[in-house]
């Protein structure tokens, strides 16, 4: 019997339908990915170029320092000697006092929040993020330890887990209203850092609990047994021989949580954010005043300048500048967590 012609020759053959589908699917997937990338790139380019123009400048010191270090002010625009002059409120008042005669009868247009800087907003956002992440990490990690190490699986624990997962799906405005009702009104914290911290901590707890539990479960059982077999108590074991190895995973969750906390406007607009406040957060008499004060925050500032005041070219600059600084601030906080995680990973490699 003659052997059949080698099937191997088919590798030179014309594309089969299966191969064509393969190619088609490949391109579809590739284009989808590129499209997403393109959208992201456009957003960053838009904010980066327009916001960058506000934050950076071509002459030394190359950074618009007042924008980063001063408080928002009202912008005054008027015409003098045929030229348009722009001036922040404080400067304008002084100018007016010096040139009182000249300024009489000159038409002055004012634009709120369009002069000065956004320093109190940066400070407020950093404070809000750090406080709420700290609270969320403590509560979340303790709950995760309970769920992963102590609780015996049963209907109640399953129900508890389900509730936590569902909590993650609750819209942030609902958390905002809850925080307003619970912390601002019922517990009488007022519009304050504390109320904002707690509201946002609750909002990100599901992320942190779920991820921390995963991280704890991923620690090999052998480390627990090895420690217990040496006469450690369960708590000692968890503290010295489980939690440290889970920390990198827990920090990953907090990076997600940081992004969420820093970015959300809804939960803070009823609980912690002021549109405008003259004192900086640390200009307080006693520490209780510190946690019971409202603060200005970047996302809320963007919301206000973008939708609560008349729009023009001056407010546009503030919007883009704030958005740019906002992205930068969030990235910086998240990077800190990432670097910390990298360090821990190196220290406890397994």
């Amino acid at each position: 019997m003659k052997p059949a012609p080698s099937a191997f020759a088919a590798i030179f053959g014309r594309p089969t339908p299966a191969k064509r589908v393969e190619t088609g699917v490949f391109w579809l997937l590739r284009l989808c990915t590129y499209f997403v990338l393109l959208c992201a790139a456009f957003i960053f380019w838009d904010i980066g170029s327009k916001g960058g123009a506000v934050v950076f400048q071509s002459s030394a010191p190359f950074i618009n320092v007042p924008f980063l270090t001063e408080s928002p002010e009202t912008l005054n625009v008027f015409v003098r000697d045929g030229r348009e002059q722009t001036m922040g409120d404080r400067a304008f008042r002084q100018f007016k006092a010096e040139h009182a005669a000249e300024m009489k009868g000159v038409a002055v247009e004012t634009y709120v929040y369009s002069a000065g800087g956004i320093f109190p907003n940066i400070a407020g956002t950093v404070l809000l993020v750090l406080g709420s992440i700290l609270i969320a990490l403590v509560l979340g990690v303790l709950s995760a330890i309970y769920l992963s190490e102590y609780a015996t699986e049963g209907p109640f624990i399953r129900f508890l887990r389900l509730s936590i997962v569902n909590l993650a799906g609750v819209p942030s405005i609902v958390f905002g209203l809850f925080g307003f009702g619970m912390f601002v009104i019922a517990l009488d914290f007022g519009v304050s850092l504390l109320a904002g911290w707690l509201t946002m901590a609750f909002m990100v707890l599901p992320i942190i609990i779920t991820a921390s539990e995963e991280a704890l479960k991923a620690v090999p059982q052998g480390y627990r047994e090895g420690s217990l077999a040496l006469g450690a108590t369960k708590f000692q074991t968890i503290l010295t021989n489980v939690l440290p190895y889970a920390l990198p995973g827990i920090l990953t969750s907090s990076v997600l949580a940081i992004a969420r906390v820093a970015g959300e406007t809804a939960p803070i607009m009823f609980t912690a954010a002021f549109v405008m406040r003259d004192e900086l957060p640390w200009q307080v008499q006693k520490w209780t005043d510190f946690i019971f004060q409202g603060v200005m925050a970047l996302p809320y500032h963007i919301y206000v300048v973008a939708s609560k005041i008349p729009q023009n070219e001056y407010t546009r600059d503030v919007q883009y500048g704030t958005a740019f600084v906002f992205l930068f601030t969030v990235a910086a906080i998240a990077m800190t967590a990432v670097i910390l995680r990298q360090r821990l990973r190196k220290k406890y490699q397994w």
């Binding site: 480390y223 420690s227 217990l228 040496l230 006469g231 450690a232």
Partner: protein
């Protein structure tokens, strides 16, 4: 150790030759009486009775799934960690104390009954921290004392010369055999009376295995050792007494020479000569 066990047709040779009676020097460190063990509804150990002599090496052998690890983990109550696992009958006494007595402090028990696991599990910390772990959690902070224990334990585990210059490097950077010896050193650092070893050489090459065996030989001057092994030669080489288990039952328990040369039970004979099943 010389002791003679009369070959017998009795199902449990132990009854014929209790250790203590055969050798007055060897006091029973662990007395296991009529122990039944359950994982949930399934029974893993049936009516186990045996006495483990002090300062000798006792080997548990038997086919996979016969309950060797289960029995071993009863001895330091490691099975407490498993939901639904329990000793359902009988008792285990160590130094005359029933370890399942509710008044027994499990932490204290585990300090006195150390364990080396099948899968070597050095902690992802430095060698030094691994060895001192047991003492640190007991609150020992004196540096000089810790240093001394590290050297002593590592010498005890025949590892000192290999690692003395890298005590503060991660234990995970060591070879498999060295890692297992770190685990042994870690166990002896807390000065237990009994060391349980669950297939300590199963992941090691012959050279590392030989080192660990040599080590076991040396350790028995100080410690009572119970070792689970699948390696017949290993049991024959390094144990004084051997217990053969099958399907959760103790089939035969006698001194090692008897088990290998002159077993009373045909099942034992079939297993040790490799003609099983």
């Amino acid at each position: 150790m010389t002791e003679s066990v009369a070959p017998s047709a009795a199902p449990r040779p132990l009854a014929v030759a209790p250790v203590a009676a055969a050798s007055p020097a060897a006091r029973a460190a662990i007395e296991i009486d009529d122990v039944d063990f359950h994982y949930g509804a399934s029974k893993a150990l049936h009516d186990i009775t045996l006495n483990i002599p002090e300062r000798q090496v006792t080997a548990f052998i038997g086919p996979s799934g016969c309950g060797k690890s289960t029995l071993l983990r009863c001895l330091n109550r490691m099975n407490d960690l498993i939901d639904g696992a329990r000793v359902s009958a009988g008792r285990i006494r160590i130094d005359g104390v029933n370890i399942f007595d509710p008044r027994v402090d499990v932490i204290e028990l585990r300090k006195r009954v150390g364990m080396v696991f099948q899968k070597s599990n050095p902690f992802p910390k430095s060698i030094y921290e691994n060895i001192t772990y047991g003492l640190r959690i007991q609150g020992q902070k004196t540096k000089a004392r810790l240093d001394e224990v590290v050297e002593h334990s590592l010498r005890g585990a025949a590892l000192w010369d290999e690692v003395k210059d890298r005590l503060h490097e991660s234990a995970l950077g060591l070879s498999g055999g060295q890692q297992q010896r770190v685990c042994i050193a870690r166990a002896i650092a807390v000065e237990p009376e009994i060391i349980l070893m669950d297939e300590p050489c199963s992941a090691l090459d012959p050279i590392a295995t030989a080192k660990v065996e040599e080590l076991i030989h040396g350790l028995k001057k100080q410690f009572t050792i119970v070792i689970v092994t699948h390696n017949m030669q290993q049991a024959a080489r390094c144990s004084d007494r051997t217990a053969f288990f099958y399907l959760g039952k103790l089939i035969e328990y006698a001194d090692t020479r008897t088990i290998f040369m002159n077993p009373a039970n045909p099942q034992t004979e079939a297993y040790v000569s490799g003609r099983f099943g």
